[in-house]
Symmetry: C2
Subunit: 328 residues, 2 copies
Amino acid sequence: MIKIGIDVMSSDNAPGIDVEGAVLAAREYEHHIVLVGNKDVIEKELEKYRPIPENISIEHASEVIGMHEQPVLSVRRKKNSSIVVLTNLAKEKKVDAIVSAGNTGAMVCAATLKCRLLPGIERAGIGIIMPTLKGTALMIDGGANIDAKPKHLLQYAIMGSAYSEYILNKRLPKVGLLNIGEEESKGTGFLKEAFGLLELSGLNFTGNVEGRDIFIGDCDVIVCDGLVGNVALKVTESIVHAIMEMLKSAFNSSLASKLGAFLSKRALRSLKKKMDSAEYGGAPLLGIDGICIICHGSSNAKAIKNAIRVAGEEVVKNVNRHIVESIS
Amino acid sequence: MIKIGIDVMSSDNAPGIDVEGAVLAAREYEHHIVLVGNKDVIEKELEKYRPIPENISIEHASEVIGMHEQPVLSVRRKKNSSIVVLTNLAKEKKVDAIVSAGNTGAMVCAATLKCRLLPGIERAGIGIIMPTLKGTALMIDGGANIDAKPKHLLQYAIMGSAYSEYILNKRLPKVGLLNIGEEESKGTGFLKEAFGLLELSGLNFTGNVEGRDIFIGDCDVIVCDGLVGNVALKVTESIVHAIMEMLKSAFNSSLASKLGAFLSKRALRSLKKKMDSAEYGGAPLLGIDGICIICHGSSNAKAIKNAIRVAGEEVVKNVNRHIVESIS
């Protein structure tokens, strides 16, 4: 049976949402789920879900790393935090995969320190699944490493391609380098060097892409450094939210538009679903010698449940073996 | 009378759209408008708009710089290109402001070389007006300079604040530094250094902001390097387009939603208008000793017209004087 550990203490709405998501997952999937956090608090939360699924257990962790704590320091100091206890479970192979919606930096740091990196990988990268007009694209790195070197971008491309092929089922995934323009000559020295490495990589590298290409969906893997990727991700999340708000107030502006909104409710709901990151669960932290899914701090229970589903899929499909094969 | 020069040869849909926008502007505003480009081609285009407004004249330029030409080289070699002839008009003070929807890099390069930079400014920056839930925000730099130094970000903040205050009429504009997180400790060494400079700047600096904060609208000026700004801009444009496409197909999915869409047409139109960059015209290139508006390559006639309007406003309000005062 696949065992998945989840930190239920560190998200914006912990522990309620995280425990709820874990219970939903335990009911829907056959995995054994280990809830990591304060035992008393978790037991009290679980009381809401009687009968408690048998495939749930608790691993006690007395501390919590806050969202705004400095990653390296907090991981070093809070040895009993849910994030550190969780990553120890992965390190000791007591679970097959780990999930957290807590402090991303702390999670990246703890997973890298405890699980170590795969051979040939120098930096872990967060893979973000973005909705596109043609399906989805994987953008890597979403913010694990903001001081990337060109060779790290090459490693991201290799990891992203393996993930795209084996988890997202895309054949010969097309890789693009996120840049300021499409021509080979564009960008900083850093990007030009990364371009050269990608050209020689043997991957299906299609050249530079611009921010506007992400949602068109012609690329399966979009490679960038963590700062650019993080801004692109957060801009996307934010504008989807802003447009939904604007739609809401636009629809409330007249009786006709209110009726219109009522009649078009289903259409809007399907749009919302397509744009909803909860559908994709979480973001894989690629490059570590283990399986780790990082969720948005404000994840809802459905997102947590889906992250556990994705973690299980990664275990079954052994994405890391494919990454190691590609690297070497 | 204010004189505004416009390159009508270099946009994606030149010269038709650019001439049309210029004619619309000539009819609506009192500025004298100088169309720069191939005389024969422009005269033929103008035939469509009889009677041709009297406040339009032509400045011949025999060459065109293509969208994908290398900026520095093309500006050096194509001395008779519309972009170079246009910037020469500004340099020689034959026009008060210039507008182009052509190759952004070439425009930045030509304007910087010909008009020179304002005293105290080391790099020009493109100011992008972004729609927010509370109005608009100015993001600078949108891609003029991708190899920025921390002091350039400080200069962007000063220019952006002056523009916000005197052109966008915001009192004590709030300045944010686009970063990966809100805490002061976040980001690369580059961003930390920029943070320190902004803190001591005397501007209304409110600290780091994330990609998600842009559209919330709590900041008036968002400072970033050109690569990050360009990605943020293009991601925004692209996702607005993608959402509109998804809305369209969602609305076409059933009879009820079609009727719903019909009834909510006005609401949707107002949303589209809010998100439509054509409303804002173009992006000011700040820092040069002159007034220059850079439009999107795929601008429509309305965007060109609005860019000419904004150029006129900048002339009247003398934004450069305020920038120079703030810098010193």
